[in-house]
């Protein structure tokens, strides 16, 4: 991965200066997050006295406080269930439909395709009020399973679009081979086509998982009737919604909430960047 200009062999003039300036800029840029880390291991009075100073000693009890205040293990699992259920469903529905629609060329299939991708142009906030009513009618509110299922409808359009675009480039002979071998269409799809769609599947998983893990408004709308907060983002909201914020625990809570996403990012960095670009440029 080298810049196209002036070429991998030589560095531009002043490269060291640019590097240095950007490194300083990056430190300033990330300083708010660095402060979160520093203050997550300080006592409340230390935070009130001076945010910038390093802690006199490590107050790791902030993390155990936040851990139990947020009911972290429970909510981590809940958020993971929602993310996996939502993402898994989107991958399954979008891959099947995107592939199928790329193989049929009738006026009817064109209409179905439009029906499936047009929602990309409908902003969430313009139908959220009625969506709550639909979810209530279907008894999906106040349940993490209901939330996971709701994501299917919201996530499929973009993912279907990506699958459709890629499936068009996979030669149709492969479908015929599977048919001649006597595969039923559904089995042929999962054994022959689905593995071939893998590059899109990676992008689709990345885009949807990051979105669902970090999403706030839909969980707020669907789960707000529950007695306790049910996802990590909602727990963070409750943490800061209090009149007197216990900053030390709140900072630890912030770190506990974002760590899974940061780890996911560091492990899959390459795929995430590629997936996000694919989703943006083609969507």
């Amino acid at each position: 991965m080298s810049g196209p200009f002036p070429g991998p062999s030589r560095r531009p003039r002043g490269a060291a200066v640019i590097s240095l300036v950007l490194a300083v800029a990056a430190l300033v840029y990330l300083y708010p997050l660095i402060l979160v880390v520093i203050n997550s291991v300080k006592s409340f009075s230390e935070i009130m006295a001076n945010v910038v100073a390093l802690p006199a000693q490590l107050h790791l009890e902030n993390f155990s406080n936040a851990f139990s205040l947020m009911r972290y293990p429970n909510l981590f699992l809940n958020t993971l269930v929602v993310t996996c259920m939502g993402t898994g469903g989107v991958v399954l529905l979008a891959a099947m439909a995107g592939f199928k629609l790329s193989r049929t060329r009738t006026r009817y299939s064109w209409f179905v395709f439009l029906l499936c991708v047009a929602p990309m142009m409908i902003p969430f906030h313009s139908f959220m009020i009625a969506l709550v009513k639909v979810a209530r009618t279907l008894h999906l509110t106040n349940s993490i399973w209901g939330l996971g299922a709701t994501y299917w409808g919201l996530g499929v359009p973009l993912s279907l679009f990506l699958y459709h675009g890629f499936a068009k480039t996979v030669p149709g002979e492969l479908d015929d081979c599977a048919a001649i071998d006597g595969c039923r269409p559904l089995r042929a799809f999962f054994q022959v086509m689905f593995p071939l769609l893998q590059p899109v599947t990676v992008s689709v998983i990345v885009i949807n998982a990051m979105w669902m893990w970090n999403d706030f408004l839909l969980p707020l709308l669907i789960l707000s009737g529950a007695k306790k907060s049910l996802t990590l983002q909602l727990a963070a909201y409750n943490f800061f919604g209090q009149y007197k914020i216990e900053w030390q625990n709140a900072m630890a809570g912030v770190l506990l909430t974002i760590t899974p996403a940061v780890v996911f990012y560091l492990v899959l960095q390459r795929h995430i960047i590629k997936g996000m670009v694919a989703g943006a440029v083609k969507g």
Binding site: R11, L33, P123, M128, A130, L131, G153, I273
Partner: protein, 279 residues
């Protein structure tokens, strides 16, 4: 094989959307039995006698103009610098991308901490006046704060889009220009920028539609305050429906938001696509 996807989309997007349009002609307090058809009264009210929506409109449009401009200029500048062959560029790219993987609601809270507690400490240390201002309490400064946090959170994403675009620029063209003695600035504006117009179209499209429906950061940073100074249209819709229990009226506002975003993004795509063809 397409049926499950179609059902999911109909159920969770298209039917709710059509219901919104229908409910926008009713008075409805959220309870099922109390839906009353009132024609276009909601639309008349929101166009003629709703100062709250009016100020949300003005805030959202002003915010959008500044956010789109700032995000794209800063992101493109960063992309150009980080597309050069310099030491540590991969680490630097990752660093600028990090805020993008954190949820917007958390971002808002982190910055609330910085603006309140953090700025107190910075002020005590540096005695600079800017740290003693009320960045969330003054309505003009709150606008700047929301803008700053939004730009801070999102430039990583747009930087990546621009880097992907820059990597498609053929090196021969730039080298030919270098031979002709063209300086770096005019090389950028005469060769690079026209060639990456497709990326500009995409990045402006996304920043535009995201700015028009901005919600989460405001929700956690200012909750639309002080007063209604930073209330966006999306937040106004939320408050109308879920705080004031005026669901029918809220859906009318949401239809307006849909039309606004549709009109502006279609217009933007048309204008920018034309530039792409010329390039």
């Amino acid at each position: 094989m397409t049926i499950p996807a179609v059902i999911a989309i109909l159920l969770f997007v298209e039917i709710p959307f059509l219901m919104s349009v229908t409910y926008s002609f009713t008075r409805w307090n959220g309870l099922d039995k109390a839906v009353k058809f009132i024609g276009i009264s909601n639309y008349v009210e929101l166009l003629t006698s709703d100062p709250q929506l009016g100020s949300a409109m003005i805030f959202t449009l002003a915010f959008t103009v500044f956010a789109v401009a700032a995000i794209n200029v800063v992101a493109l500048l960063l992309a150009v610098l980080l597309d050069m062959n310099i030491r540590g560029k991969n680490v630097l790219r990752a660093a600028f991308y990090i805020p993008n993987i954190i949820s917007l609601i958390i971002i808002g809270y982190v910055w609330r901490f910085i603006f309140s507690r953090g700025f107190d400490s910075f002020g005590a240390l540096t005695h600079l006046g800017i740290f003693q201002l009320s960045w969330l309490g003054d309505s003009h400064l709150a606008f700047v704060s929301v803008l700053l946090v939004t730009v801070w959170q999102s430039i990583g994403f747009y930087m990546v889009i621009y880097i992907a675009g820059l990597q498609t620029v053929p090196r021969e063209q730039l080298e030919a220009a270098l031979m002709d003695g063209t300086g770096p600035v005019s090389r950028f504006f005469r060769i690079t920028l026209p060639l990456i117009m497709p990326s500009v179209t995409v990045a402006v499209f996304y920043s535009l539609s995201n700015a028009l429906k901005t919600f989460d950061v405001i929700f956690s940073l200012t909750f639309g305050g002080p007063g209604t100074a930073t209330t966006s249209i999306a937040l106004d819709i939320y408050k109308t429906a879920f705080s004031d229990s005026r669901f029918g009226y809220g859906t009318a506002k949401s239809v307006v938001l849909f039309l606004l975003i549709l009109a502006l993004t279609v217009f933007q795509l048309n204008v920018f696509k034309r530039r792409e063809v010329q390039a």
